[in-house]
Symmetry: C2
Subunit: 252 residues, 2 copies
Protein backbone atom coordinates (compact mmCIF):
# COMPACT_ATOMS: atom_id res chain seq x y z
CA UNK A 1 0.00 0.00 0.00
CA UNK A 2 1.02 3.63 -0.49
CA UNK A 3 2.38 5.22 2.70
CA UNK A 4 0.05 7.95 4.00
CA UNK A 5 1.24 10.28 6.80
CA UNK A 6 -0.98 10.03 9.92
CA UNK A 7 -1.03 13.81 10.10
CA UNK A 8 -2.93 14.07 6.81
CA UNK A 9 -6.33 15.73 7.45
CA UNK A 10 -8.12 12.98 5.52
CA UNK A 11 -5.95 10.10 6.78
CA UNK A 12 -8.81 7.68 7.56
CA UNK A 13 -10.45 8.25 4.20
CA UNK A 14 -7.18 7.76 2.28
CA UNK A 15 -6.31 4.61 4.21
CA UNK A 16 -9.76 3.18 3.45
CA UNK A 17 -9.27 3.97 -0.23
CA UNK A 18 -5.90 2.21 -0.24
CA UNK A 19 -7.44 -0.83 1.46
CA UNK A 20 -10.11 -1.17 -1.21
CA UNK A 21 -7.54 -0.70 -4.01
CA UNK A 22 -5.46 -3.38 -2.26
CA UNK A 23 -8.53 -5.63 -2.07
CA UNK A 24 -8.89 -5.34 -5.85
CA UNK A 25 -5.21 -6.23 -6.31
CA UNK A 26 -5.50 -9.24 -4.02
CA UNK A 27 -8.63 -10.40 -5.82
CA UNK A 28 -11.30 -10.25 -3.13
CA UNK A 29 -12.82 -6.90 -4.15
CA UNK A 30 -14.36 -6.27 -7.59
CA UNK A 31 -13.54 -3.25 -9.75
CA UNK A 32 -17.11 -2.06 -9.09
CA UNK A 33 -16.06 -1.98 -5.44
CA UNK A 34 -13.83 1.02 -6.21
CA UNK A 35 -16.80 2.97 -7.53
CA UNK A 36 -18.83 1.96 -4.46
CA UNK A 37 -15.97 3.16 -2.24
CA UNK A 38 -16.00 6.52 -4.05
CA UNK A 39 -19.74 6.89 -3.45
CA UNK A 40 -19.15 6.07 0.20
CA UNK A 41 -16.38 8.68 0.45
CA UNK A 42 -18.73 11.37 -0.83
CA UNK A 43 -21.53 10.50 1.60
CA UNK A 44 -19.09 10.20 4.49
CA UNK A 45 -17.69 13.62 3.62
CA UNK A 46 -21.24 14.98 3.84
CA UNK A 47 -21.62 13.48 7.32
CA UNK A 48 -18.35 15.12 8.39
CA UNK A 49 -16.55 11.74 8.43
CA UNK A 50 -17.79 11.07 11.95
CA UNK A 51 -20.38 8.94 13.73
CA UNK A 52 -23.41 11.21 14.06
CA UNK A 53 -25.94 11.08 16.93
CA UNK A 54 -28.47 9.24 14.72
CA UNK A 55 -25.85 6.62 13.80
CA UNK A 56 -24.95 6.13 17.47
CA UNK A 57 -28.63 5.51 18.29
CA UNK A 58 -29.02 3.05 15.41
CA UNK A 59 -25.86 1.22 16.46
CA UNK A 60 -27.23 0.75 19.99
CA UNK A 61 -30.53 -0.57 18.59
CA UNK A 62 -28.63 -2.91 16.26
CA UNK A 63 -26.60 -4.27 19.18
CA UNK A 64 -29.79 -4.93 21.17
CA UNK A 65 -31.36 -6.66 18.16
CA UNK A 66 -28.31 -8.88 17.64
CA UNK A 67 -28.20 -9.79 21.36
CA UNK A 68 -31.91 -10.73 21.28
CA UNK A 69 -31.49 -12.82 18.12
CA UNK A 70 -31.74 -16.58 18.31
CA UNK A 71 -29.74 -17.12 15.11
CA UNK A 72 -27.87 -13.99 14.07
CA UNK A 73 -25.71 -14.03 10.91
CA UNK A 74 -23.24 -11.50 9.51
CA UNK A 75 -22.82 -10.94 5.77
CA UNK A 76 -19.41 -10.12 4.26
CA UNK A 77 -18.85 -8.83 0.71
CA UNK A 78 -15.72 -7.71 -1.14
CA UNK A 79 -15.60 -4.16 0.24
CA UNK A 80 -16.32 -5.32 3.78
CA UNK A 81 -13.49 -7.86 3.43
CA UNK A 82 -11.15 -5.10 2.21
CA UNK A 83 -12.09 -2.57 4.87
CA UNK A 84 -12.97 -4.36 8.12
CA UNK A 85 -12.11 -8.07 7.98
CA UNK A 86 -10.60 -8.23 11.49
CA UNK A 87 -13.42 -6.12 12.91
CA UNK A 88 -16.07 -8.45 11.42
CA UNK A 89 -14.29 -11.46 12.92
CA UNK A 90 -14.35 -9.73 16.33
CA UNK A 91 -18.03 -8.89 16.05
CA UNK A 92 -18.81 -12.50 15.09
CA UNK A 93 -16.86 -13.69 18.12
CA UNK A 94 -18.64 -11.27 20.49
CA UNK A 95 -21.99 -12.63 19.24
CA UNK A 96 -21.04 -16.27 18.63
CA UNK A 97 -22.49 -15.75 15.15
CA UNK A 98 -21.38 -17.11 11.76
CA UNK A 99 -19.93 -14.93 8.99
CA UNK A 100 -21.30 -15.61 5.50
CA UNK A 101 -19.54 -14.46 2.33
CA UNK A 102 -22.14 -13.01 0.00
CA UNK A 103 -21.06 -11.23 -3.19
CA UNK A 104 -22.95 -9.07 -5.67
CA UNK A 105 -20.61 -10.09 -8.50
CA UNK A 106 -20.12 -13.66 -7.29
CA UNK A 107 -17.19 -15.74 -8.43
CA UNK A 108 -16.20 -18.89 -6.57
CA UNK A 109 -12.59 -17.70 -6.55
CA UNK A 110 -13.46 -14.43 -4.77
CA UNK A 111 -15.72 -16.23 -2.28
CA UNK A 112 -12.87 -18.62 -1.46
CA UNK A 113 -10.30 -15.84 -1.05
CA UNK A 114 -12.53 -13.89 1.32
CA UNK A 115 -13.39 -17.02 3.36
CA UNK A 116 -9.68 -17.84 3.65
CA UNK A 117 -8.92 -14.27 4.74
CA UNK A 118 -11.58 -14.40 7.47
CA UNK A 119 -10.34 -17.78 8.71
CA UNK A 120 -6.75 -16.53 8.74
CA UNK A 121 -7.93 -13.73 11.04
CA UNK A 122 -9.42 -16.20 13.51
CA UNK A 123 -13.03 -16.58 12.37
CA UNK A 124 -14.64 -19.71 13.86
CA UNK A 125 -17.44 -20.24 11.34
CA UNK A 126 -17.28 -18.94 7.77
CA UNK A 127 -20.09 -19.86 5.36
CA UNK A 128 -20.85 -18.99 1.76
CA UNK A 129 -18.54 -21.33 -0.16
CA UNK A 130 -21.15 -24.09 -0.36
CA UNK A 131 -24.56 -22.41 -0.54
CA UNK A 132 -27.41 -24.92 -0.15
CA UNK A 133 -30.48 -22.66 -0.28
CA UNK A 134 -31.91 -19.72 -2.23
CA UNK A 135 -33.39 -16.41 -1.08
CA UNK A 136 -36.79 -16.15 -2.86
CA UNK A 137 -37.24 -13.27 -5.32
CA UNK A 138 -33.61 -12.89 -6.43
CA UNK A 139 -32.02 -14.20 -9.60
CA UNK A 140 -30.03 -17.41 -9.35
CA UNK A 141 -26.50 -16.08 -8.65
CA UNK A 142 -27.68 -13.40 -6.21
CA UNK A 143 -30.06 -15.74 -4.36
CA UNK A 144 -27.41 -18.13 -3.02
CA UNK A 145 -27.48 -18.55 0.75
CA UNK A 146 -26.48 -21.09 3.35
CA UNK A 147 -28.54 -23.00 5.92
CA UNK A 148 -27.24 -22.31 9.40
CA UNK A 149 -26.16 -18.88 8.14
CA UNK A 150 -28.10 -16.11 6.44
CA UNK A 151 -30.80 -18.43 5.04
CA UNK A 152 -32.33 -19.36 8.38
CA UNK A 153 -31.09 -16.49 10.52
CA UNK A 154 -33.68 -14.37 12.33
CA UNK A 155 -31.42 -11.27 12.40
CA UNK A 156 -28.94 -10.51 9.59
CA UNK A 157 -26.31 -7.77 9.50
CA UNK A 158 -25.73 -6.61 5.92
CA UNK A 159 -23.01 -3.97 5.61
CA UNK A 160 -22.93 -2.31 2.14
CA UNK A 161 -25.75 -4.39 0.67
CA UNK A 162 -27.87 -3.60 -2.39
CA UNK A 163 -31.56 -2.80 -2.17
CA UNK A 164 -32.93 -5.93 -3.88
CA UNK A 165 -31.21 -8.33 -1.53
CA UNK A 166 -32.11 -6.25 1.51
CA UNK A 167 -35.76 -6.27 0.43
CA UNK A 168 -35.73 -10.03 -0.26
CA UNK A 169 -34.33 -10.79 3.21
CA UNK A 170 -36.97 -8.56 4.85
CA UNK A 171 -39.69 -10.36 2.84
CA UNK A 172 -38.45 -13.67 4.29
CA UNK A 173 -39.47 -12.26 7.68
CA UNK A 174 -35.96 -11.51 8.89
CA UNK A 175 -34.92 -8.50 10.89
CA UNK A 176 -32.25 -6.78 8.80
CA UNK A 177 -29.56 -4.42 10.06
CA UNK A 178 -27.95 -2.38 7.28
CA UNK A 179 -24.81 -0.26 7.35
CA UNK A 180 -25.19 2.27 4.53
CA UNK A 181 -23.85 5.83 4.18
CA UNK A 182 -26.77 6.94 1.99
CA UNK A 183 -29.84 7.51 4.18
CA UNK A 184 -32.03 7.67 1.05
CA UNK A 185 -30.95 4.37 -0.51
CA UNK A 186 -33.44 1.55 -0.94
CA UNK A 187 -31.32 -0.56 1.40
CA UNK A 188 -31.54 2.14 4.09
CA UNK A 189 -35.30 2.41 3.72
CA UNK A 190 -36.00 -1.33 3.55
CA UNK A 191 -33.87 -2.35 6.56
CA UNK A 192 -35.26 -2.79 10.08
CA UNK A 193 -32.35 -0.85 11.57
CA UNK A 194 -30.07 1.31 9.38
CA UNK A 195 -26.72 2.52 10.65
CA UNK A 196 -25.85 5.53 8.46
CA UNK A 197 -22.13 5.45 9.10
CA UNK A 198 -18.83 4.39 7.56
CA UNK A 199 -18.26 0.67 8.24
CA UNK A 200 -14.74 1.43 9.46
CA UNK A 201 -16.39 3.24 12.39
CA UNK A 202 -19.70 1.35 12.57
CA UNK A 203 -18.40 -2.21 12.98
CA UNK A 204 -16.06 -1.52 15.94
CA UNK A 205 -18.77 0.68 17.51
CA UNK A 206 -21.28 -2.14 17.11
CA UNK A 207 -18.92 -4.63 18.77
CA UNK A 208 -18.42 -2.22 21.69
CA UNK A 209 -22.19 -1.76 22.02
CA UNK A 210 -22.73 -5.55 21.96
CA UNK A 211 -20.21 -5.95 24.78
CA UNK A 212 -21.65 -3.02 26.73
CA UNK A 213 -25.27 -4.23 26.46
CA UNK A 214 -24.54 -7.95 26.88
CA UNK A 215 -25.30 -7.79 30.61
CA UNK A 216 -28.82 -6.42 30.09
CA UNK A 217 -31.95 -8.54 30.51
CA UNK A 218 -34.10 -9.43 27.51
CA UNK A 219 -36.68 -6.99 28.82
CA UNK A 220 -34.20 -4.11 28.88
CA UNK A 221 -32.90 -4.99 25.39
CA UNK A 222 -36.47 -5.12 24.09
CA UNK A 223 -37.10 -1.70 25.62
CA UNK A 224 -34.25 -0.24 23.52
CA UNK A 225 -35.93 -1.60 20.38
CA UNK A 226 -39.41 -0.41 21.35
CA UNK A 227 -38.11 3.14 21.49
CA UNK A 228 -36.46 2.83 18.08
CA UNK A 229 -38.02 4.28 14.90
CA UNK A 230 -35.90 3.68 11.78
CA UNK A 231 -37.73 6.24 9.65
CA UNK A 232 -37.11 8.89 12.28
CA UNK A 233 -33.42 7.92 12.42
CA UNK A 234 -33.10 8.22 8.63
CA UNK A 235 -34.73 11.63 8.70
CA UNK A 236 -32.34 12.68 11.44
CA UNK A 237 -29.42 11.50 9.26
CA UNK A 238 -30.73 13.62 6.36
CA UNK A 239 -30.96 16.61 8.71
CA UNK A 240 -27.42 15.97 9.95
CA UNK A 241 -26.16 16.06 6.35
CA UNK A 242 -28.09 19.25 5.64
CA UNK A 243 -26.70 20.91 8.76
CA UNK A 244 -23.14 19.80 7.98
CA UNK A 245 -23.39 21.19 4.44
CA UNK A 246 -24.52 24.55 5.75
CA UNK A 247 -21.84 24.63 8.43
CA UNK A 248 -19.07 23.68 5.99
CA UNK A 249 -20.21 26.32 3.57
CA UNK A 250 -20.06 28.98 6.27
CA UNK A 251 -16.83 27.91 7.95
CA UNK A 252 -14.43 27.50 5.07
CA UNK B 1 -19.11 -2.37 -22.58
CA UNK B 2 -22.01 -4.01 -20.71
CA UNK B 3 -25.37 -3.46 -22.44
CA UNK B 4 -27.65 -1.24 -20.33
CA UNK B 5 -31.36 -0.88 -21.28
CA UNK B 6 -32.28 2.76 -22.05
CA UNK B 7 -35.40 2.33 -19.94
CA UNK B 8 -33.33 1.84 -16.76
CA UNK B 9 -34.15 4.65 -14.30
CA UNK B 10 -30.46 5.36 -13.75
CA UNK B 11 -29.38 4.83 -17.39
CA UNK B 12 -27.15 7.93 -17.70
CA UNK B 13 -25.35 7.17 -14.45
CA UNK B 14 -24.74 3.52 -15.39
CA UNK B 15 -23.50 4.44 -18.87
CA UNK B 16 -21.08 6.95 -17.34
CA UNK B 17 -19.82 4.28 -14.96
CA UNK B 18 -19.25 1.86 -17.84
CA UNK B 19 -17.37 4.54 -19.77
CA UNK B 20 -14.96 5.15 -16.90
CA UNK B 21 -14.45 1.39 -16.40
CA UNK B 22 -13.80 1.17 -20.14
CA UNK B 23 -11.33 4.07 -19.87
CA UNK B 24 -9.40 2.10 -17.25
CA UNK B 25 -9.37 -0.98 -19.51
CA UNK B 26 -8.14 1.06 -22.49
CA UNK B 27 -5.45 2.66 -20.37
CA UNK B 28 -6.36 6.33 -20.40
CA UNK B 29 -8.08 6.44 -17.00
CA UNK B 30 -6.31 5.54 -13.74
CA UNK B 31 -7.76 3.16 -11.14
CA UNK B 32 -8.15 6.21 -8.88
CA UNK B 33 -10.49 7.51 -11.58
CA UNK B 34 -13.02 4.83 -10.61
CA UNK B 35 -13.10 6.11 -7.04
CA UNK B 36 -13.47 9.68 -8.34
CA UNK B 37 -16.36 8.53 -10.53
CA UNK B 38 -18.05 6.98 -7.49
CA UNK B 39 -17.72 10.25 -5.57
CA UNK B 40 -19.22 12.06 -8.55
CA UNK B 41 -22.13 9.60 -8.70
CA UNK B 42 -22.99 10.32 -5.06
CA UNK B 43 -22.91 14.09 -5.47
CA UNK B 44 -24.88 13.91 -8.72
CA UNK B 45 -27.49 11.75 -6.97
CA UNK B 46 -27.81 14.51 -4.36
CA UNK B 47 -28.42 17.08 -7.11
CA UNK B 48 -31.13 14.84 -8.58
CA UNK B 49 -28.91 13.95 -11.58
CA UNK B 50 -29.99 17.11 -13.38
CA UNK B 51 -28.61 20.55 -14.25
CA UNK B 52 -29.83 22.81 -11.47
CA UNK B 53 -30.67 26.53 -11.85
CA UNK B 54 -27.37 27.52 -10.21
CA UNK B 55 -25.42 25.30 -12.64
CA UNK B 56 -27.25 26.82 -15.61
CA UNK B 57 -26.28 30.32 -14.44
CA UNK B 58 -22.64 29.31 -13.92
CA UNK B 59 -22.56 27.68 -17.37
CA UNK B 60 -23.76 30.91 -18.98
CA UNK B 61 -21.11 32.94 -17.11
CA UNK B 62 -18.44 30.40 -18.13
CA UNK B 63 -19.47 30.71 -21.78
CA UNK B 64 -19.22 34.51 -21.60
CA UNK B 65 -15.80 34.25 -19.94
CA UNK B 66 -14.51 31.85 -22.60
CA UNK B 67 -15.84 34.09 -25.41
CA UNK B 68 -14.12 37.13 -23.89
CA UNK B 69 -10.83 35.25 -23.44
CA UNK B 70 -7.86 36.12 -25.60
CA UNK B 71 -6.17 32.74 -25.13
CA UNK B 72 -8.59 30.16 -23.70
CA UNK B 73 -7.38 26.60 -23.03
CA UNK B 74 -9.25 23.46 -22.08
CA UNK B 75 -7.76 20.84 -19.75
CA UNK B 76 -8.45 17.11 -20.25
CA UNK B 77 -7.69 14.38 -17.69
CA UNK B 78 -8.37 10.65 -17.66
CA UNK B 79 -11.97 10.81 -16.48
CA UNK B 80 -12.80 13.65 -18.87
CA UNK B 81 -11.30 11.58 -21.71
CA UNK B 82 -13.42 8.59 -20.66
CA UNK B 83 -16.66 10.51 -20.25
CA UNK B 84 -16.81 13.39 -22.76
CA UNK B 85 -13.96 13.19 -25.31
CA UNK B 86 -16.15 14.06 -28.34
CA UNK B 87 -17.90 16.82 -26.40
CA UNK B 88 -14.55 18.41 -25.40
CA UNK B 89 -13.41 18.34 -29.03
CA UNK B 90 -16.64 20.12 -30.03
CA UNK B 91 -16.23 22.76 -27.32
CA UNK B 92 -12.63 23.35 -28.43
CA UNK B 93 -13.83 23.76 -32.02
CA UNK B 94 -16.61 26.20 -31.03
CA UNK B 95 -13.99 28.33 -29.24
CA UNK B 96 -10.98 27.80 -31.51
CA UNK B 97 -9.13 26.79 -28.34
CA UNK B 98 -6.48 24.12 -27.72
CA UNK B 99 -7.06 21.03 -25.60
CA UNK B 100 -4.26 20.16 -23.15
CA UNK B 101 -3.89 16.74 -21.55
CA UNK B 102 -3.14 17.21 -17.88
CA UNK B 103 -3.08 14.21 -15.54
CA UNK B 104 -2.97 13.93 -11.76
CA UNK B 105 -1.20 10.56 -11.93
CA UNK B 106 0.86 11.40 -15.02
CA UNK B 107 2.41 8.71 -17.18
CA UNK B 108 3.67 9.51 -20.67
CA UNK B 109 1.77 6.49 -21.97
CA UNK B 110 -1.57 7.72 -20.66
CA UNK B 111 -0.93 11.26 -21.95
CA UNK B 112 -0.19 9.83 -25.40
CA UNK B 113 -3.28 7.61 -25.45
CA UNK B 114 -5.57 10.48 -24.50
CA UNK B 115 -3.98 12.84 -27.05
CA UNK B 116 -4.42 10.16 -29.75
CA UNK B 117 -8.05 9.68 -28.74
CA UNK B 118 -8.78 13.42 -28.98
CA UNK B 119 -7.06 13.68 -32.38
CA UNK B 120 -8.98 10.63 -33.64
CA UNK B 121 -12.18 12.50 -32.73
CA UNK B 122 -11.17 15.52 -34.84
CA UNK B 123 -9.33 17.77 -32.38
CA UNK B 124 -7.23 20.39 -34.20
CA UNK B 125 -4.74 21.23 -31.46
CA UNK B 126 -3.86 18.81 -28.66
CA UNK B 127 -1.10 19.77 -26.22
CA UNK B 128 0.37 18.12 -23.14
CA UNK B 129 2.71 15.52 -24.63
CA UNK B 130 5.67 17.89 -24.68
CA UNK B 131 5.29 20.24 -21.70
CA UNK B 132 7.79 23.12 -21.82
CA UNK B 133 6.84 25.14 -18.73
CA UNK B 134 5.90 24.69 -15.09
CA UNK B 135 3.01 26.04 -13.02
CA UNK B 136 4.62 27.66 -9.93
CA UNK B 137 3.78 26.13 -6.55
CA UNK B 138 3.16 22.54 -7.64
CA UNK B 139 5.53 19.62 -7.39
CA UNK B 140 7.46 18.65 -10.50
CA UNK B 141 5.13 16.08 -12.12
CA UNK B 142 1.97 18.04 -11.35
CA UNK B 143 3.42 21.38 -12.52
CA UNK B 144 3.94 20.39 -16.15
CA UNK B 145 2.23 22.73 -18.62
CA UNK B 146 2.59 23.85 -22.20
CA UNK B 147 3.24 27.29 -23.71
CA UNK B 148 0.46 28.19 -26.10
CA UNK B 149 -1.87 26.08 -23.95
CA UNK B 150 -2.66 26.21 -20.24
CA UNK B 151 0.63 27.87 -19.27
CA UNK B 152 -0.07 31.20 -20.96
CA UNK B 153 -3.84 31.02 -21.26
CA UNK B 154 -5.87 33.84 -19.70
CA UNK B 155 -8.94 31.61 -19.17
CA UNK B 156 -8.66 27.87 -18.41
CA UNK B 157 -11.45 25.32 -18.21
CA UNK B 158 -10.56 22.58 -15.71
CA UNK B 159 -13.18 19.84 -15.48
CA UNK B 160 -12.64 17.49 -12.50
CA UNK B 161 -9.45 19.16 -11.27
CA UNK B 162 -7.89 18.93 -7.83
CA UNK B 163 -7.71 21.89 -5.45
CA UNK B 164 -3.94 22.44 -5.50
CA UNK B 165 -3.75 22.82 -9.24
CA UNK B 166 -6.84 25.01 -9.36
CA UNK B 167 -5.31 27.29 -6.71
CA UNK B 168 -1.94 27.41 -8.51
CA UNK B 169 -3.58 28.47 -11.79
CA UNK B 170 -5.59 31.18 -10.01
CA UNK B 171 -2.38 32.42 -8.36
CA UNK B 172 -0.83 32.79 -11.83
CA UNK B 173 -3.56 35.38 -12.48
CA UNK B 174 -5.70 33.20 -14.71
CA UNK B 175 -9.45 33.07 -14.72
CA UNK B 176 -10.35 29.48 -13.94
CA UNK B 177 -13.62 27.72 -14.80
CA UNK B 178 -14.13 24.50 -12.84
CA UNK B 179 -16.66 21.73 -13.36
CA UNK B 180 -17.04 19.98 -10.00
CA UNK B 181 -20.02 18.18 -8.46
CA UNK B 182 -18.98 19.04 -4.90
CA UNK B 183 -19.86 22.68 -4.16
CA UNK B 184 -17.72 22.56 -1.01
CA UNK B 185 -14.50 21.28 -2.61
CA UNK B 186 -11.40 23.44 -2.61
CA UNK B 187 -11.51 23.46 -6.41
CA UNK B 188 -15.09 24.80 -6.32
CA UNK B 189 -14.15 27.52 -3.86
CA UNK B 190 -10.89 28.55 -5.56
CA UNK B 191 -12.27 28.78 -9.12
CA UNK B 192 -13.48 32.02 -10.72
CA UNK B 193 -16.59 30.28 -12.06
CA UNK B 194 -17.69 26.87 -10.77
CA UNK B 195 -20.20 24.75 -12.65
CA UNK B 196 -21.63 22.31 -10.07
CA UNK B 197 -22.86 19.76 -12.58
CA UNK B 198 -21.99 16.39 -14.08
CA UNK B 199 -19.55 16.90 -16.98
CA UNK B 200 -21.70 14.70 -19.20
CA UNK B 201 -24.33 17.46 -18.99
CA UNK B 202 -22.09 20.48 -18.36
CA UNK B 203 -19.80 20.23 -21.40
CA UNK B 204 -22.57 20.01 -24.06
CA UNK B 205 -24.49 22.75 -22.21
CA UNK B 206 -21.38 24.92 -22.24
CA UNK B 207 -20.89 24.41 -25.98
CA UNK B 208 -24.54 25.36 -26.60
CA UNK B 209 -24.14 28.48 -24.45
CA UNK B 210 -20.95 29.44 -26.31
CA UNK B 211 -22.81 29.17 -29.63
CA UNK B 212 -25.84 31.02 -28.29
CA UNK B 213 -23.81 33.92 -26.83
CA UNK B 214 -21.27 34.15 -29.65
CA UNK B 215 -23.23 36.94 -31.37
CA UNK B 216 -23.14 39.21 -28.31
CA UNK B 217 -20.89 42.26 -28.05
CA UNK B 218 -17.99 42.33 -25.60
CA UNK B 219 -20.01 44.79 -23.53
CA UNK B 220 -22.97 42.43 -23.28
CA UNK B 221 -20.70 39.50 -22.43
CA UNK B 222 -18.98 41.57 -19.74
CA UNK B 223 -22.38 42.46 -18.32
CA UNK B 224 -23.13 38.74 -17.79
CA UNK B 225 -19.89 38.42 -15.78
CA UNK B 226 -20.48 41.58 -13.74
CA UNK B 227 -23.74 40.10 -12.47
CA UNK B 228 -22.04 36.83 -11.52
CA UNK B 229 -21.07 35.98 -7.92
CA UNK B 230 -19.42 32.55 -7.58
CA UNK B 231 -19.85 32.37 -3.83
CA UNK B 232 -23.57 33.00 -4.19
CA UNK B 233 -23.79 30.30 -6.87
CA UNK B 234 -22.03 27.79 -4.62
CA UNK B 235 -24.38 28.61 -1.77
CA UNK B 236 -27.33 28.16 -4.11
CA UNK B 237 -25.93 24.74 -5.11
CA UNK B 238 -25.71 23.75 -1.43
CA UNK B 239 -29.32 24.83 -0.96
CA UNK B 240 -30.38 22.85 -4.03
CA UNK B 241 -28.80 19.73 -2.52
CA UNK B 242 -30.46 20.36 0.84
CA UNK B 243 -33.85 20.82 -0.82
CA UNK B 244 -33.41 17.69 -2.96
CA UNK B 245 -32.50 15.61 0.11
CA UNK B 246 -35.62 16.76 1.91
CA UNK B 247 -37.84 16.18 -1.12
CA UNK B 248 -36.43 12.69 -1.73
CA UNK B 249 -36.90 11.80 1.89
CA UNK B 250 -40.56 12.82 1.77
CA UNK B 251 -41.41 11.36 -1.63
CA UNK B 252 -40.07 7.86 -1.44
Amino acid sequence: MTEIPKSHPRYASLVARERVADGVKKGFTSTQGLIAQGRGEAFDYLLGEKTTPSAAKATRAAAAMLLLAERPALSVNGNVAALVPQEMVELARALGAPLEVNLFHRTEERVGKIADLLRSLGAKEVLGEWPDAAVPGLDHARAKATRGGIYDADVVLIPLEDGDRCEALVKMGKKVIAVDLNPLSRTSRMATVTIVDNIVRAVPNLTSAVRELSGLSKGDLSKILEDYDNNRILHQAVEEIQAHLEEQFKNT
